[in-house]
């Protein structure tokens, strides 16, 4: 498929600019990054405002930047549940995880699991799950990169994923987490600007030309949807997956260790909620205007390109080129930031478990963590971005979420219970998704496609029941560990 409507020079220039500036900021961060602690978690000296921008930068992935608008184009009002879930996931994270997790003093989720349950086996199972989640989350980012590069430059699909992996490896292995914090904070504001500037010009242009922005309300009509209306089950199961999946995402959680204390972890999360709420207004507007100005993309199966192509449909010539450059740069920033965040958190896990927690081990682990999903991405086809990401959220909500929530709040959790719960959640949720894929996403029943509504309670239930049955395996120092998680630091 070719898109002659975009000027390829624009694509090349914005991709190169984003890649170069990302690597430059990474190198600048290198001058400050000195010790192993710096590499892993920036020595926990990152201010809430920086940290919140960095979390926003890392979290707003291809699914948010391109996928949300694409879904609004396809499904109308039902698609609004995606940004709601992506945002409100941080509310759940704030309520149940943020401050205690910071106080745990652990660097990664497996560290937390091992410290809380005094068990190497729990650590191993958690590590495997975290690595699986990370890889499956990187794959849609790389698919997004493939789509963006193909549409904006006309280059073959493999160029996008390979470029993303190269830039990510360069910036991660040179600077670790410290420079990644700067890079990520920069990426949030880049992404916001990349969506805000073009849409402001588009709105001014459309209002100036005297058209009704909403086509007198026609834009909202469900007749424009190309999908059937979602059932109540679908919407609720999706929201459960997104709400409880966020608090288990490895690249999000690793950010919380960089707060100085529990209270600032809460302040950071509050800021993140504000940043996300502002951000999601923009993809929503793109999707809405797309329903009038780029409806043909739905039929072509490229709804995710709505954000990329909308500016050039409204503006001709140089104006359109410049605004297209903005959205292209923002999209590329989205893949880079989420992928590098994931690679950092995965490298943290992989290097501690397999490379002996040294700086060179971290670098090797980063390269391995980036290359394996690249292989997956090159071998598989693109799904709708927001849809495939929501499956990762469902999986995380069914596996890591019960471990974290029960580990933080319930004395009764045992290592056997935690493993049983995680394995059950992984088998049920992973099995449903695979089965749905085998049946074909269109034909699979909704309880297989969106399993979170029953797999998350099932994982919690199994964890609790097995823990109750193995009371004797409760760790002896549970009171000490819980006291450490919940007592506030000196004021």
């Amino acid at each position: 498929m070719t898109f002659p409507e975009l000027n390829p020079v624009v694509g090349y220039v914005s991709l190169v600019l984003v890649a170069v500036s990302t690597v430059m900021i990474g190198i600048y961060g290198l001058r400050i990054s000195r010790t192993t602690g710096d590499f892993y978690v920036a020595s926990r000296t990152v201010r809430p405002w920086w940290n919140a921008s960095a979390i926003g930068g890392e979290y707003l992935s291809a699914a948010s930047f391109l996928g949300v608008a694409g879904l609004i184009l396809l499904s109308g009002v039902d698609a609004l549940w995606f940004p709601i879930g992506y945002t409100a996931g941080y509310l759940m994270l704030l309520l149940f995880v943020a401050a205690p997790l910071r106080r745990s003093g652990a660097y990664t989720i497996p560290d937390f699991a091992e410290a809380r349950l005094e068990s190497r086996n729990v650590r191993r199972v958690t590590s495997l799950l975290v690595i699986a989640v990370g890889w499956f989350y990187i794959v849609p980012q790389l698919h997004g990169a493939a789509l963006t590069v193909r549409i904006t430059t006309g280059l073959p699909s493999w160029v996008g994923p390979v470029a993303v992996v190269v830039v990510v490896c360069l910036s991660v292995i040179t600077g670790g987490m410290r420079s990644i914090t700067f890079v990520q904070a920069f990426q949030y504001w880049l992404k916001l600007t990349a969506l805000a500037v073009p849409i402001i010009f588009i709105l001014i242009q459309l209002t100036g030309s005297g058209e009704s922005l909403t086509d007198d309300g026609a834009v909202f009509r469900s007749e424009l949807n190309s999908t059937v209306e979602a059932s109540l089950y679908q919407n609720i199961s999706l929201v459960i997956a997104l709400l409880f999946g966020t608090l288990g995402l490895p690249h999000v959680l690793v950010r919380f260790y960089t707060n100085p204390d529990g209270a600032s972890a809460r302040r950071t999360t509050l800021l993140v909620l504000g940043l996300l709420s502002v951000f999601y207004l923009f993809p929503t507007l793109y999707g809405l205007l797309g329903r009038i100005h780029t409806p043909d993309l739905a039929a072509q199966g490229s709804a995710d390109a709505t954000v990329l192509l909308l500016p050039s449909r409204i503006f001709d010539g140089v104006g359109g080129d410049i605004l297209s450059a903005f959205v292209t740069a923002g999209a590329f920033a989205a893949f880079l930031s989420t992928s590098s965040g994931l690679v950092v958190s995965l490298a943290g896990v992989v290097s501690q478990d397999f490379f002996g927690a040294s700086v060179s081990g971290f670098r090797w682990a980063a390269i391995v963590s980036a290359l394996i999903p690249l292989g997956f991405a090159l071998l598989t086809d693109t799904l709708a971005l927001a849809g495939s990401v929501s499956m990762v959220f469902a999986f995380t909500a069914s596996t890591v979420c019960p471990l974290l929530v029960l580990g933080i709040w319930w004395r009764g959790l045992t290592d056997t219970g935690a493993i049983a719960g995680m394995v059950t959640g992984a088998a049920l949720c992973g099995g449903s998704i695979l089965l749905a894929a085998a049946l074909g996403i269109e034909r699979a029943p909704e309880w297989l496609r969106l399993p979170a509504l029953w797999t998350v309670p099932a994982a919690f239930a199994v964890t609790v029941i097995v823990s109750r049955l193995t009371v004797r395996r409760r760790p002896k120092n549970v009171s000490r560990v819980l006291a450490r998680l919940h007592t506030p630091e000196a004021a």
Partner: protein
């Protein structure tokens, strides 16, 4: 580039408050910590349930009163306004409420420990 590796992992960098040590070592301390955890959990569950009830309430009410779907404000239908805009201030409101209350619970805990 020079990278010097200190002992790793180094554990939490935050200072150990007296409260924490006391909580870990005495029975009274443990009682305080248990009640602290209970209060924090109750707060979190109350805020989460309140939010979830409102969130799930929106599609449920819209399906009970489908007439609302046709209401519009400046050509924008009410469901779009609720889900696309109004939800976000609600999320932030819940978060602010929680952060304040959790901070107060912790302050009360500190005061209790100081009295001991």
């Amino acid at each position: 580039m020079r990278v010097t590796a200190p002992q790793f992992p180094t554990g939490p960098a935050a200072s150990y408050p007296v409260a924490r040590e006391m909580a870990e070592q005495s029975d009274v301390g443990e009682l305080f910590v248990r009640s602290l955890i209970r209060s924090q959990l109750r707060l979190a569950v109350v805020v989460a349930s309140g939010f979830l009830v409102i969130l799930v309430g929106i599609p449920v009410l819209l399906s009970i009163f489908p007439a609302v779907n046709t209401w519009t404000i400046a050509t924008v239908p009410v469901p779009w306004l609720l889900l696309g805009l109004a939800i976000y201030p609600l999320v932030i409101g819940c978060a602010v409420l929680y952060v304040r209350s959790a901070g107060r619970i912790e302050q009360r805990f500190r005061d209790l420990v100081d009295e001991q």
